[in-house]
């Protein structure tokens, strides 16, 4: 074993990269051998990540972090304990196993403890892009510079980030379970703003496995266009309006809905979906799937317990089909446990990926949705979304960084931001039109593929004021 990555012979400033598969296997063997437990589960995360952050057209923060974290869970019967650490020297491994075992011995039996999974087969997902592996501070700075220069050329101020990471996740247990996966991720987001004193603001973002697929120039131009449209802000009264939500805003409704699809809450009566499995909960044209293999999404090959990713239909033509079962609840109800919905794909397509064909389910472009709207509001993004009432999943939030009045089929005045107050279980039954799914990235949700949606009677409850 060579647990010290600093001794791997690389002279590169950004390090020699995270632990390899065979190194992890040797480490896991040591941990499992050290453990006195009947069951031992070992998780390791190792990797580099960096973020270049800019504001006021210059870099204000530029960071690069190497972080190792490992967790060992030891169980004696139904008694279990977990300990974590941040390096994998042999002394640390011994210490972390001992601490986990000590906690397990002192903990009361947990009737819901589930032993680690047996060995699993994992789908070969493409979770790594070499360009991101090789990207360090220099590449991130270069991309930040592109965004800044574009904004400066339009007499706007840029704030945003370029980030990239290359990490590995390893799982092993003395049941024979073994999983190892390298993963890359990169992110770009930019807010283009008017001069000091101006409220003009436009935003765009992207997340991708590949740093070269972030489309920094295109996204920055989108933000610039929105900012330039926002120079003159108009305040109109709160109320119910037809809205066209761009995909990032739709994510603000879908994220909380997905989060609440928890089976344990459902059976305890503390879920907004009680009594709704098998019933239509959103518009019949919409189908929500997990598509971990989609090249633009960030589906992982396995979840934190080692359950393999799988394509799965959660909502089929508006009907709720699937809840998220933890392993204990799944066993109680004689169903398979459910891996996370980490690659959401909402569309008018059938579960077998056939294009929309049912009457009334044809998709439009965003321009067509706008052109077909006599009076409505175009929303770029939502912000600070919180649950107000968990019983009916009422949420609140603000519009942000590009809210525009649509009149006679055209995007017109920029509007002062609204507070809204809606449940996705009500709003998503008011669908008047939709686009094909597109990248949906926001600051408060993970990446999804979602359509833009035209919704009737969306409830804006107050205005932020000029």
């Amino acid at each position: 074993m060579n647990p010290d990555p600093s001794e791997r012979g690389s002279s590169s400033l950004v390090g020699s990269g995270p632990i390899g598969r065979e190194e992890f296997r040797r480490l896991a063997e040591i941990v499992l051998k050290l453990s006195p437990g009947q069951r031992t589960f070992f998780v390791l995360h190792d990797g580099d990540s960096g973020t270049t952050r800019f504001a006021n057209n210059q870099i204000v923060q530029n960071v690069h972090t190497r972080r190792v974290s490992l967790a060992v869970t030891v169980a004696f019967g139904q008694q279990h304990g977990t300990a974590t650490a941040t390096d994998f020297g042999e002394e640390t491994l011994r210490d972390v196993v001992q601490r986990a075992a000590q906690i397990a011995r002192l903990s009361p039996p947990d009737p819901e403890y589930m032993p680690p999974l047996q060995p699993q087969d994992y789908p070969p997902l493409s979770t790594v892009r070499e360009d991101t592996v090789g990207a360090g501070p220099t590449r991130r700075i270069a991309l930040a510079r592109e965004a800044i220069e574009l904004c400066k050329s339009e007499h706007l101020t840029a704030a945003g980030i370029v980030s990239s990471s290359f990490k590995v996740v390893g799982l092993a247990a003395n049941t024979g379970l073994f999983a190892y996966e390298p993963r890359t991720e990169s992110k770009f987001s930019v807010t283009a703003m008017g001069a000091a004193g101006s409220r003009a603001s436009g935003w765009a973002a992207n997340v991708h496995r590949s740093i070269e697929q972030l489309q920094v120039v295109e996204r920055t131009r989108t933000a610039i266009e929105k900012a330039k449209r926002s120079v003159e802000l108009r305040e109109i009264p709160a109320g119910r309006y037809t809205v066209i939500l761009e995909p990032a805003a739709v994510a603000g409704l879908i994220g909380p809905l997905v989060w609440m699809l928890d089976a344990k809450s459902y059976y305890k009566g503390t879920s907004p979906f009680v009594g709704k499995v098998g019933r239509a909960i959103i518009d019949r044209r919409l189908t929500l799937q997990n598509r971990p293999e989609h090249e633009d999404l960030l589906g992982d090959g396995f979840n934190g317990e080692g359950l393999p990713a799988s394509e799965m239909t959660w909502i089929e033509h508006g009907v709720l089909r699937q809840l998220r079962y933890d392993r204990y609840t799944a066993q109680e109800h004689h169903v398979y446990p459910t891996p996370a919905l980490d690659a959401p794909y909402l569309s008018a397509e059938s579960p077998s990926h056939e294009p929309a064909s049912a009457p009334g389910s044809s998709v439009s472009t965003l321009d067509e949705l706008i052109a077909g709207t006599e009076r409505g509001i175009l929303v770029t993004n939502f912000w600070y979304i919180r649950t107000v009432n968990p019983t009916d999943l009422t949420l609140t939030g603000m519009t942000r960084d590009g809210t525009f009045l649509i009149e006679d089929g055209r995007v017109g005045s920029a509007l002062v931001d609204f507070r809204w107050h809606e449940s996705p279980l009500r709003a998503l039954l008011q669908v008047d039109g939709l686009t094909a799914p597109a990248d949906a990235v926001s600051n408060e949700n993970w990446k999804m593929k979602l359509p833009a949606l035209k919704l009737r009677d969306f409830n804006f409850s107050s205005v932020s004021r000029l």
Binding site: N57, I103, T270, Y384, I385, V388, T394
Partner: protein, 487 residues
């Protein structure tokens, strides 16, 4: 790793930073230990003992920052990371137009240690799990309770800070917290509702948990959860509000704390957490609230979360006014942003959430100064109002101007008397109008401290820690809506 090892690594980093000719540089080595015991539905669901050790190096070169960090504590890695921080700073400097200029701070050498009666890490685990299981049993004795949770948390941070200016600071800090929650289901209506009781997060030991007496509080918490789930909904309209200190801690945090962060006001957070309606031109001029509103930042009050002796710039903790008799007079600052508004010293509010994070401006321990009279006095002068305790839903715009808050429990006030519980109360408003409607704060005997360890800010995201103290306060003519879809 011993203190001697840390000192050796610190010397190595400082030598390298000096050799690289940095304008400023610092190192933080942090060893964090935490223990979380979490109970759910009568069982102990998780016991986790976490250890998080690593170091971070900041370098200022050419007026721009570089930061690199690692959890690998070898001499080779320390040198690699230090060199990387310098190289990143040089890269940042290529785009520097407004060079970073740090304001002056005396050199400090000190050791800061949390004093506590009972070290939470020395309390036997069985004591904690037994307490939580008993509390959950108490909660479930109340008919109508469907779910329960209870948790205890403790953390110890040992830290060494050294800077190229010569400051050398050692920290050994402890924090503790506990909370319990009961969830009731009304099977007639399908509704469910929760009621919680928690200690504040404070820099104290296990005495915080012992003094809280969860077993005494559990029956009340369970009974109120059941009362809440079948309580009538509030009629939307205009009400006077009387807010308890725990509830106010969040209102202060969101509507005063964040807008008073100078980095936000200067645009540093524009792409994520947002900006601030409290722009620098308003300093000393803007009427933020009524004359009853005195909001003071105090990072020197013992036991509070931001009272760490020194911040992560190595600046000594201080006490200063944010709002004085309703007038906006102060910001939370660090050594980088303070000079941008002509201030000669940082307020010492620059903090990172771990060794792996770069310090950023953070909300201080901002509290509402007590006034006169009692809670009963405040309620007695309300004809139609709502008394609110605790936290629940909250949301505020990116300028911290338009906000909306729920709460954990609500009671209708009619003709000067607290009557019955309500549910689904949400109030919303505009920050200066809301604070302008404050016409009474209770006396110092009502002052309580609550705080947060999950204040999200920065990219990559960090969790900030701070305490907000308040006494009960009354606000006139606030808009209340009901938290129900379509309302």
């Amino acid at each position: 790793m011993s203190r001697h090892d840390w000192d050796e690594k610190a010397d190595l980093v400082l030598q390298r930073l000096h050799a690289a000719g940095v304008e400023y540089g610092d190192l933080r080595i942090v060893d964090s230990t935490s223990q979380a015991v979490h109970g759910q539905d009568r069982r102990i669901a998780t016991v986790q003992d976490s250890r998080d050790v690593g170091f971070g190096v900041r370098a200022l070169v050419g007026g721009a920052w570089g930061f690199a960090a690692s959890s690998v504590m070898t001499a080779g890695e320390v040198l690699r990371i230090t060199n990387l921080a310098v190289e990143i700073a040089k890269g940042s400097a290529q785009l520097a137009t407004d060079r970073v200029r740090l304001c002056e701070e005396p050199v400090h050498t000190d050791a800061v240690v949390t004093t506590c009666r009972t070290n939470p890490f020395e309390v036997p685990l069985e004591t904690k799990t037994t307490l939580l299981q008993e509390v959950m049993e108490y909660l479930h004795r109340q008919p109508g309770i469907a779910r329960s949770s209870a948790q205890l948390w403790a953390r110890r941070d040992r830290k060494l800070f050294v800077s190229t200016e010569g400051s050398r600071l050692q920290f050994d800090l402890i924090a503790s917290q506990g909370e319990i929650t009961a969830t009731a289901v009304d099977h007639r209506t399908g509704r469910f509702a929760s009621r919680s009781f928690s200690t504040p997060y404070l820099r104290t030991g296990y005495e915080l948990i012992e003094d809280a007496n969860f077993l005494r509080e559990a029956p009340r918490v369970a009974a109120q959860a059941v009362e809440k789930v079948s309580a009538p909904q509030a009629e939307p309209g205009v009400y006077d509000l009387v807010l308890d200190p725990e509830h106010l801690s969040l209102t202060i945090h969101e509507s005063c704390g964040h807008p008073s962060e100078l980095d936000r006001a200067l645009g540093y957070e524009a792409n994520y957490a947002g900006t601030s309606f409290l722009t620098p031109d308003k300093l000393g001029r803007f009427r933020y609230g009524s004359s009853h509103v005195n909001l003071i930042a105090d990072n020197t009050e013992p036991e509070t979360l931001a009272a760490t002796g020194y911040d992560d710039d190595g600046v000594a903790c201080q006490r200063w006014d944010i709002v004085r008799q309703g007038l906006f007079v102060g910001y939370c600052t660090n050594r980088e942003v303070a000079p941008k508004i002509g201030q000669t010293r940082s307020r010492g509010s620059n903090r990172a959430d771990s060794w792996g994070s770069v310090p950023i401006v953070r909300i201080a321990n901002i509290g509402l100064e007590p006034g006169r009279g009692t809670l009963d006095d405040l309620i007695a002068d309300v004809r139609r109002g709502i008394y609110i305790e605790g936290h629940d839903s909250f949301s505020i715009d990116q300028r911290r101007y338009n906000f909306q808050f729920g709460g954990d429990a609500f009671w209708l006030i009619e003709n000067g008397r607290r009557t019955h519980m309500l549910q689904d109360v949400i109030y919303h408003g505009i920050t200066p109008e809301f604070w302008g409607s404050c016409d009474g704060v209770a006396d110092p005997s009502h002052r309580r401290r609550f705080g947060f360890i999950t204040c999200g800010k920065g990219q990559p995201g960090q969790s900030g820690w701070m305490t907000h103290a308040a006494a009960h306060a009354r606000f006139r003519n606030v808009n209340v809506i009901t938290g129900k879809a379509g309302a």
